[in-house]
Symmetry: none
């Protein structure tokens, strides 16, 4: 079973957009048991599309295409597919109704350009696009000479439209069409330790993994996901093996594991707060609202999240959070005293059970010898008191903000479950 991805788009070939679609599709296809053999990126240009399709049809059983389905002139994938299959476009009522629904929801009427998006090659089965106006297309064809079946699927390049179509429709359909070896994954979510240190800690465990179980490290700023993949014939056996290995790992690095199976830290925290009927607020300086943003990215967070004060200026720390001018003067804004006062200030003011406070030097400027860029203080306030911790991260502003947020959410999680830190 060979699978290829073809990403169409000039923007990918001048480097204006990084090809994250291919990486995301590869991960999801892998999880479903399909390995990607090749990714090809080509221009919005008929000959390039025809050439890539011709070549892929010779080599692969499944061809996933993204891009070039927008309503504008530079989007020509549909026309190229018509040429490839020697067919023509036909108006598709169901696709049109989806476009109408989409526009109607936004209180606007369908333009002629968008009406054209309901025209599809006659030989395709449309793939419903819940989040946009360009339908996907599913084609069944055969390889020249051998006559073997080849499936070609064309999807929009807009990541958010493509992703839900892949997850909800394309992958489930492919799984039915191609029953595979059973592949079972389990992801172990860790926070607070870098990839290479983690690898050192778990080396022995990694070496003794059964041969049908593999491990992948998936690092993100502040988070390392460990993905166990088991392959075999019996789902129950593989699941049992993976469960055993996961429990061994839990014993080796209990303090770094915060959750499983791609649960985001803000989701874990939200779930715990909801279960225990606790409320939270944040007082943020260097993270500038990013922690509040993560917390509020979880639907239903209004049950436990009351709000935040982003105290970027010192006068806001003083006036709104009750940090004393003396503390600010004596210890500076990036200090244990100030971050603790911020946490206690927001807790009292917003009348919450728990609070996070952050203060640090995100960079690239503002560092000194004593307080270099990347130095961050985090405080957690709870009914049993206020605890603060100092961290020294790197010199990248964006990464420092993200790592601080992840660290702060994990300290909050530990506080909620009563784990020391």
């Amino acid at each position: 079973m060979k699978t290829e991805i073809i990403n169409i788009g000039d923007e990918l070939l001048i480097g204006q957009v990084i090809n994250t679609n291919a990486a995301w599709m590869a991960v999801e296809m892998n999880l479903a048991g399909f390995m990607i053999d090749r990714v090809t990126v080509i221009q919005d240009e008929t000959q390039a599309i025809l050439g890539a399709l011709e070549q892929s049809r010779m080599n692969s059983d499944i061809i996933l295409i993204t891009g070039g389905l927008g309503p504008t002139k530079d989007d020509i994938t549909k026309e190229a597919l018509c040429q490839f299959f020697n067919t023509t476009l036909a108006f598709n009522l169901k696709a049109f109704e989806n476009i109408e629904r989409f526009f109607h929801q936004r209180g606007i009427s369908v333009t002629e350009l968008n009406r054209k998006q309901a025209e599809l090659p006659e030989n395709c089965t449309p793939v419903h696009n819940q989040n946009g106006t360009a339908p996907g297309m599913w084609f069944e064809t055969t390889r020249d000479r051998t006559g073997e079946k080849v499936i070609i699927i064309s999807l929009p390049g807009v990541p958010f439209e493509m992703k839900s179509m892949m997850k909800d429709l394309v992958i489930p359909m492919l799984k039915i069409r191609f029953p595979q070896h059973t592949i079972i994954h389990k992801t172990i979510m860790t926070q607070g330790i870098g990839e290479s240190f983690l690898a050192d800690l778990i080396e022995e465990w990694e070496t003794q993994l059964p041969s049908n179980i593999s491990l992948a490290y998936l690092p993100h700023p502040g988070i390392v996901r460990l993905r166990l993949t088991g392959i075999g014939n019996h789902a129950t056996n593989i699941r049992k093996q993976i469960e055993e290995e996961s429990q061994k790992l839990q014993k080796i690095i209990p303090h770094y594991i915060y959750g499983y199976d791609d649960e985001q830290l803000e989701e874990t925290v939200g779930r715990l707060l909801k279960e225990r009927k606790l409320s939270v607020a944040t007082a943020e300086s260097c993270t500038g609202g990013y922690i509040a943003h993560l917390i509020t990215s979880v639907p239903g967070c209004s049950v436990y999240f009351k709000g935040s004060i982003i105290a970027y200026a010192n006068e806001i720390k003083e006036k709104e959070l009750g940090v004393s001018a003396e503390s600010l003067f004596t210890f500076g804004a990036v200090s244990e005293q100030v971050v603790k006062a911020m946490a206690s200030g927001i807790m009292e003011k917003f009348k919450v059970d728990l609070a996070i406070a952050t203060s640090g030097i995100a960079g690239p400027d503002g560092g000194t010898d004593e307080k270099p860029v990347g130095m961050i203080w985090i405080a957690i306030a709870s009914p049993s008191g206020i605890t603060a911790r100092k961290y020294q991260f790197g010199d990248n502003r964006d990464r420092n903000i993200r790592r601080t947020a992840m660290q702060a959410l994990n300290l909050l999680r530990k506080t909620v479950i009563g784990e020391p830190f």
Copy 2:
């Protein structure tokens, strides 16, 4: 002149690593006047490498390869190149001296594995790697049948090694070998209008573009970038042409253009506030701190950004922002009255020149017939008064938050420069 990139690496095909190398190389090659026609990502596997090389040699004049040059077993690019050119590996003293230098600097001695990195295909010219132990390789070959010249360059996949080799050696050499057409890009940043409506508005202008100038639409949540690309012999002429077209466009859609050349909206706003010595704060409900996060993602923002109140709970809107209980009861939190009161509340409290307030139903839950998911109110407060606008976005929480933030920042920008909205 056709150029291709071949990225070799299993990690790219399981989505573990996003292919940022291709994007970076494309940008740099473009700036040097070479368009990339195709990017192919393949496994560390001999047949895959030979197949890709064979195919690329038929189509392209320059082939840039990355990856598979490390010292470990899974790195087989060099062996595959030997097979492709029907040659063998030979020890290269200069390459070895570089490896020695590299290890010596770090106070360690050269291992047998690394010594092998100094063995190179006999027909290549080595490309010096200042930052690592794997030399690059420059091959000159010809296309079968036609006998046209083809250059194949193999570089390490480690971004930081590859980048300096490209910049310092490969691109300068290619420029000498192939005096090029000049390619010039200009990106026009728009906000507040969807791709298809934009296309309708500018269709006439698009049609009259000179044949050597092309247009691409690059949509993101809340933002559409328009990229003009000009090709020709004289940089000055192309630049002039692009400038003229950009000015024509400016006249057609003045209210949607906020900036040029990939300037982010939060950067534009920051630049304007700095220039005019104005301060800003935000009072956020549905955006939950995301606007504050964007503002504070710009280094140096402390000059103009004082802070925010994230008023997720109604009691915080009342107590901290002075929204009246009566307004909240009569009109609801998602209303013109409340969002205006939030804006005026934060402006007074934080003593800033400008303020943004947001209140809406981000979804997926919480919608009603009267106030469906995606309904958002944004208010901007300035010394000349408070203006509020209502928007109806879609049903995806994350996108609603992003679009609201972009819209709010653009309304702030317009307020600062005195443009009505």
